[in-house]
């Protein structure tokens, strides 16, 4: 049992129209616990969720703050719509901190119950600052109005055991376990920079703790650096109107309509309820988008071995409700139950694996040259329980593998690991090394940006090649799409605030297949609208998937089907129904723009956020190597003829690669110009004072930062 270091009683804030009106500050260094008022300015300008996270983070840090300084905060909030149970995907927690990967604010989101239970316990947001002297657990009991900071001795390291231990400890009985949620990292997060956060929820049907992840940017690494072993919240009494919404009838009506769509259409559309996001593996493979062997190519004939059907027929439990928050009929959080592990400290045990999601199969599968579903699920399990950001791990190891393949580093440099493409035994051993903090594990856990420096300085690797094939931007690894043939998506990854994660924009079909946005201005419009629209989910505590992974049957009759106008209207109506405000679709985008531009200025304040920081590696834009060019020679030769007026017959391969590169890099610069202009930024990527004033975000502290760059 942990020793209680601090106990604090509070009167839970009464929730009114989506807000409790209070946030919780905990300094784990000096054990201070304070309650803060959520002001009208916060609600007007920052809305909630990621907006509240960034607001508090800005106040907590200085421009010179490093990720492991005590003043860096982990901030969490679920937003005003978070926790409603009438619509799908309403249980997200948004998390932000200064990232060890990028040295700028990172935001990441997770399902699971923590955020809504935190709100129902009385808190619109939670700030964690300082560094504890010894490992602790922070426990919030929303029914008793009690916060306790306890020592963490005797607790397990890895999340699948730790979260189960803590759920049992803090639940009053077996039935109460569904009312407890745990946030934890895992053993590897102590030794790597891309450690992630697991958010738990107890599944009474399977009688096990399950997880969703706020995975990007090293949040788990920060949690353990603060010596916080886990956060636990308990709240009993979920009901359909804990948010005390303004118009419950309206929300019920929208919810019923949406659930009917889900019931009738999911089977015909994406099949989310059978396989979740991994439904797209063979589609990505067919459209040359499935990243294979470090994004060198966009598919492989072996992809059939990791098809959705393989997972459905052999691994994934079907016919059980799989939502990660109450009321979600999309139910895409699949599991492989009774999965027997073949390696590592839990070898021989049967566990529940949450997943695999698309990013898992593409990242830990094809991008590492692994086409073995058993191995992918085992990698999935260990990433989760060890607290490893699966996307950063996959993209980073793919980079290491290619460096090894191209003779830039040796087996000896990797501590004897034979990290060739396809060697899943070596991949799993590397994960176990990360968990133990041994061998090549900690070095591989630095992430691509730092590894490029290490490989060049220590092992004599070619810096230019490393720059070209290292799929990172701003220090964050790319998520798992081979997008060389979509200029818009090159921007969708590189012209982002936190780094190349597809949660801002996924424009590949619209751009590359549909040819709907051929001009720079059209691409720029898409790179304005979609990042702003999708930012809104992060302000509200919502999941993106119910927006467009299922669409109304008559969506094709609408003016812009890709935006799914009826669902956008649903969101406007739900916001109005919860808060009692009256926004429209245009104001929805405005709400996001305020926070989006604030985050851009936050990057500037931390010494980033300029055009020079928005550059992609060339592997993102086009063929780096001869093999890559030759793999799609017909396409590239055709582009030379049609786009540049050149005759490929008169050029050797190296010349063709060089002129293709020059052209594509120019195209990216022109795209950048157009996007910055559309977003109201200067050519250097700085929001103009006029634009900030127009948005109502010309706050004195914001203007002070911006003026330094104008």
């Amino acid at each position: 049992m942990g020793r209680i270091l601090k106990s604090y009683n509070y009167e839970p804030g009464k929730i009114f129209r989506g807000y409790t009106g209070k946030s919780l500050y905990i300094n784990v260094g000096d054990l201070r616990i304070e309650e803060k008022e959520v002001t009208q300015l916060m609600k007007d300008k920052f809305i909630g969720g990621k907006g509240f996270d960034l607001y508090y983070l800005w106040k907590a840090v200085k421009p010179e703050t490093q990720w492991n300084d005590p003043e860096n905060e982990i901030v969490m909030s679920c937003g005003p719509l978070g926790g409603i149970t009438q619509y799908s995907g309403t249980g997200k927690t948004l998390v932000a901190a200064i990232s060890p990967m990028t040295d700028i604010p990172v935001d990441s989101n997770a399902g699971g119950y923590f955020g809504p239970l935190l709100k129902f316990s009385g808190w619109d947001a939670l700030e964690l600052q300082g560094k504890a002297e010894q490992e602790i657990v922070v426990f919030i009991d929303g029914n008793k109005g009690l916060i306790q900071i306890e020592t963490a001795e005797g607790l397990a390291e890895d999340s699948h055991i730790l979260a189960e231990e803590l759920t049992r400890k803090y639940a009053e009985d077996e039935k109460d376990m569904v009312n407890v949620s745990v946030v934890s990292a895992g053993s590897a997060a102590r030794h790597i920079l891309y450690g992630m956060l697991n958010f738990s929820f107890y599944d009474p049907r399977r009688k096990t703790v399950r997880f969703k992840q706020a995975a990007r940017g090293g949040l788990g690494t920060i949690l353990l650096d603060k010596k916080i072993k886990a956060l636990v919240v308990r709240f009993k009494g979920i009901n359909p109107n804990l948010n005390d919404v303004a118009d419950i009838g309206l929300i019920n009506k929208i919810g019923v309509k949406y659930h009917k769509e889900m019931r009738d259409l999911d089977e015909k559309q994406n099949g989310m309820r059978k396989i979740g996001t991994a439904n797209t593996i063979l589609v990505m493979n067919k459209y040359d988008l499935l990243p294979t062997r470090n994004f060198q190519t966009g598919g492989d004939p072996e992809a059939v071995k990791i098809s959705p059907q393989v997972f459905i027929e052999n691994f994934l439990t079907q016919g059980i409700h799989d939502g990660c928050w109450y009321g979600c009929t999309m139910s895409c959080a699949k599991t492989a139950d009774h999965f027997k592990l073949l390696t590592g400290p839990y070898k021989g045990e049967c566990v529940t694996v949450d997943g695999p999601e698309y990013e898992c199969v593409a990242g830990l599968g094809s991008n590492l040259g692994v086409f073995d579903p058993q191995a992918i699920l085992e990698e999935n399990f260990y990433c989760d329980t060890y607290g490893i950001d699966l996307i950063s791990f996959a993209t980073c190891i793919a980079f290491i593998m290619e460096c090894y393949q191209r003779g830039q580093i040796s087996q000896e440099d990797m501590g004897g690991l034979d990290l060739r493409f396809g060697n899943h035994e070596a991949v799993l051993e590397l994960m176990h090394q990360m968990s133990r903090g041994e061998g090549f594990g900690p070095m591989a856990g630095l992430g691509i940006r730092k590894l490029k420096k290490v490989f060049a300085e220590k092992f004599g690797a070619d810096p230019q090649l490393l720059q070209d094939i290292g799929m990172e931007s701003k220090g964050l690894e790319y998520s798992e799409y081979c997008h060389k043939e979509s200029l818009a998506q090159q921007g969708g990854f590189a012209l982002t605030n936190k780094g190349p994660q597809h949660d801002e924009a996924w424009l590949i079909f619209m751009d590359m297949v549909n040819n709907q946005i051929p001009s720079f201005e059209e691409k720029a419009e898409a790179l304005h609208y979609y990042p702003m629209f999708r930012t809104w989910f992060g302000l509200m505590g919502l999941c993106k998937l119910p927006w467009n992974d299922i669409v109304p049957a008559d969506n094709h009759l609408t003016d812009i089907p890709a935006r799914v106008p009826e669902h956008v209207q649903n969101y406007v109506d739900i916001f109005n129904g919860v808060t009692g405000m009256q926004i429209d679709k245009a104001e929805l985008i405005r709400q996001s723009e305020r926070v989006y531009n604030f985050q851009r200025v936050f990057n500037l304040r931390m010494g980033s956020g300029l055009r020079q920081h928005d550059k992609p590696p060339y592997r993102s834009m086009g063929p780096v190597s001869r093999e890559e060019y030759e793999s799609r020679q017909d396409l590239y030769d055709k582009q030379l003829r049609e786009k540049q007026g050149l005759d490929p017959e008169k050029m050797n391969l190296d010349e063709k690669i060089a002129v293709t590169r020059k052209y594509r890099e120019q195209q990216f610069e022109l795209l950048t110009d157009a996007v910055y202009k559309r977003r109201g930024w200067t050519k250097q990527g700085v929001p103009t004072l006029e634009h900030l004033a127009e948005l109502g975000m010309d706050l004195p502290e914001v203007v002070e930062v911006v003026k330094q760059y104008l």
Binding site: H502, W506, N515, N548, P561
Partner: protein, 65 residues
Amino acid sequence: MIIVNTQEHPWHEGMTVQVLLDEKGYIFRHIIVRVNGEYVAEEDWARRMIRDGDDVVVLHLTAGG
């Protein structure tokens, strides 16, 4: 020759919408087809003939990821 999503594509006798989708490798389930601006429902793809010179739009819907 026909136009598919603003790009030229060779036409041949007996080309239906489904044949065209197969030729293009468009296996995504979440798509909308319009021929010369006219919506073609999925149940008609196998019998709706495409004529030389037609303008076909095959809209892949996901802007998701």
